[in-house]
């Protein structure tokens, strides 16, 4: 029933690429790169109900991991992406093992602490990460002898990965494990009482979630070619959460909408400079209070009500 969505998405991408607009294509690349961690966060926070304020760390670990593995071992770019992603997936599983004995605020704070510790590590480990000066000279991704240099060639690469991630995420949600995830988010105790190993499922999803983030991060590293700690701070974790909230938490396509919406909004608000955060904040508060199922649902409900009022008004 949602099978039209992927062809539609591909058609949209092709259309945008065909416009030959460099600006549009670079936006699409950014959207694709951020959709990966956002979907990862939606799996654990939206579907499984376990909040995380540290997902920027997985994204950052993926980015730095790929860059450093490439630099140290001289492996081809595609291989360092795979290696870094697998490594971060293991780290995410271990973090899950550590933090999922906590719930609610305590979980939020623990993941926040994890995020900040990793961020501090990026800044302070000068010898490894280059500290605040950053890490330069990351080679672009190369596949089958092709160097993916520039937005137009990177676009298909990143969106192939993103679409695969979307399909896999949907498959996971539609599987028995996905059912268990939704049960856990609603009532952990009852989910456990009929035989589900709640902790093990949470850790598994955390691993998948970290994997998505790291994949996005390592592609990002090869896309920009330069890493500094800035983009991986708590602000990015909050932005991811905002995307997920606007998308309606447990809704993969909604979250994709959230990513697109926030990215476009960011572009619109650019003239405001630093003040754009006010808009983000207000949006976050309003959408969480008034649109618990996401902005799209909230707006369509509002629209529906408006239409009904109009219709009632017209009725004799």
């Amino acid at each position: 029933m949602t099978s039209w969505r992927i062809p539609a998405l591909i058609a949209l991408l092709v259309l945008c690429a065909a416009s030959r607009s460099g600006y549009l294509v670079s936006l699409l690349v950014v959207i694709g790169l951020q959709a990966l961690p956002a979907i990862g966060l939606a799996l654990i926070a939206g579907y499984t109900g376990q909040i995380s304020l540290g997902h920027a760390a997985f994204y950052g670990l993926g980015a730095y991991g790929a860059a450093l593995i490439g630099k140290w071992f001289g492996v081809p770019a595609w291989l360092d992406v795979i290696l870094a992603t697998s490594l971060v997936a293991v780290i995410a599983w271990a973090i899950g093992w550590l933090v999922f004995r906590l719930k609610g605020h305590y979980l939020a704070m623990a993941t926040l602490a994890f995020g900040i510790i990793v961020q501090v590590g990026f800044v302070e480990l000068h010898d490894v990460t280059g500290g605040p000066n950053g890490l330069t000279g990351i080679p672009p991704l190369a596949l089958f002898g092709y160097t993916l240099n520039g937005d137009f060639v990177f676009l298909p690469a990143v969106w192939v990965v993103t679409i695969i991630a979307i399909v896999c995420a949907e498959n996971l949600i539609a599987s028995p494990t996905g059912l268990a995830m939704r049960a856990i988010s609603e009532n952990e105790r009852v989910a456990g009482s009929v035989g589900n190993n709640v902790q093990s499922i949470k850790r598994l999803i955390m691993m998948v979630s970290g994997l998505c983030c790291a994949l996005g991060g390592s592609l990002y590293a090869h896309y920009v070619g330069y890493l500094s700690p800035g983009p991986f701070d708590v602000g990015f974790s909050v932005k991811l959460l905002l995307m997920v909230a606007i998308g309606g938490f447990a809704d993969v396509w909604g979250v994709l909408f959230g990513v697109i919406f926030i990215t476009l909004l960011g572009e619109l608000l650019k003239p405001l400079g630093a003040y754009d955060v006010v808009a983000y904040g207000v949006l976050l508060v309003v959408s969480v209070i008034y649109c618990p199922n996401g902005l799209l649902h909230g707006l369509s409900a509002l629209l529906g009500r408006g239409l009904r009022i109009v219709n009632v008004g017209r009725a004799p």
Partner: protein, 289 residues
């Protein structure tokens, strides 16, 4: 040795600020069950308002009082508009208060700009020399204010009727309803107290540390760490937690590297969360029971 003393003093000063912010957390959490992620921003609002009013020519005491009042009003507005609608929902409570913090930061940036600004010291800048360490007079103000505030709060909670009823509401919300209390009222009281405490912390530390629109985030998180370390209970626990954190930070900044001090704070947080969720005093269980 004098190094160590110096670190100890600066740790105590910073730690008492963390403690004040931390108590603010408990004032709100115990009654509403929401951890206010915008807590540190109350300190920022207090400090920035005080700086603005003072630089507009008002005497210092007036600036301080007005700034505290402004922060309380902001806290009340937040409680009514953002926290009340999501009470009882942990995940949405977290996200909403994060959003509120972001809004406060943005509005502060619009009103006061993004530059770090100082507040003049309350009683001069002349350094004091004690036991081989140099101390800013403002540091003494910080320590004194924190001590007075903590003792006053402790007395409020233990000795006054309102304070006792506030604690009662946190202890057993159902029983509180049966004797006629409204959780909404007590939640408002908690936000006012929390706003005032945050503002006091922000103002008193403003002459030492420059304040800018995004100072609050770090302060808020540190305040929360203080709470966890002390045990999520009353003022004494938070003060203790704040001091432990502040001193640890000061020593690690002094002997290891200032960059790592944040990591140490959060390692402490993780450690306590995972292995001793009751904090040093272990009040967590009792308060939520």
């Amino acid at each position: 040795m004098s190094d160590a003393l110096q670190f100890l003093i600066s740790g105590l000063v910073v730690g008492s600020i963390y403690g004040l912010i931390g108590v603010g957390f408990t004032c709100i959490y115990n009654v509403t069950g929401i951890v206010n992620f915008a807590q540190g921003d109350f300190a920022m609002v207090g400090a920035m308002s005080a700086i603005a009013i003072q630089s507009a020519g008002a005497p210092m005491w007036l600036a301080i009082i007005l700034a505290i009042l402004i922060t309380c009003v902001v806290a009340v507005l937040i409680e009514r508009s953002a926290v009340q609608p999501v009470r009882g929902d942990v995940m949405r409570g977290i996200i909403v208060t994060i959003g509120v913090g972001v809004v406060l930061q943005g509005v502060a940036a619009i009103i006061w700009g993004t530059d770090a600004q100082p507040l003049p010291a309350f009683s001069g800048e002349k350094l004091l020399h004690m036991f081989g360490a140099t101390v800013m007079p403002q540091s003494l103000w910080v320590l004194g204010t924190a001590a007075v505030a903590m003792v006053a709060l402790d007395l409020l909670f233990r000795r006054t009727y309102l304070g006792q009823m506030f604690r009662a509401c946190a202890m057993n919300p159902f029983a509180a309803r049966l004797v006629g209390m409204k959780v909404e009222t007590m939640s408002l009281v908690g936000f006012v107290m929390s706003g005032a405490l945050g503002a006091i912390a922000g103002i008193v530390v403003a002459p030492i540390a420059l304040t800018q629109y995004d100072t609050g985030l770090q302060l808020g998180i540190k305040g929360f760490v203080a709470c966890i370390v002390g045990g999520f209970g009353g003022p004494i626990g938070a003060a203790l937690g704040g001091i432990v954190l502040g001193v640890l930070e000061a020593f690690s900044a002094g002997y290891v590297s200032s960059g790592y001090k944040n990591a140490i704070a959060f390692a402490l947080l993780l450690g306590f969360l995972l292995f001793r969720p009751g904090g040093l005093l272990g009040e967590y269980e009792r308060v939520r029971a």
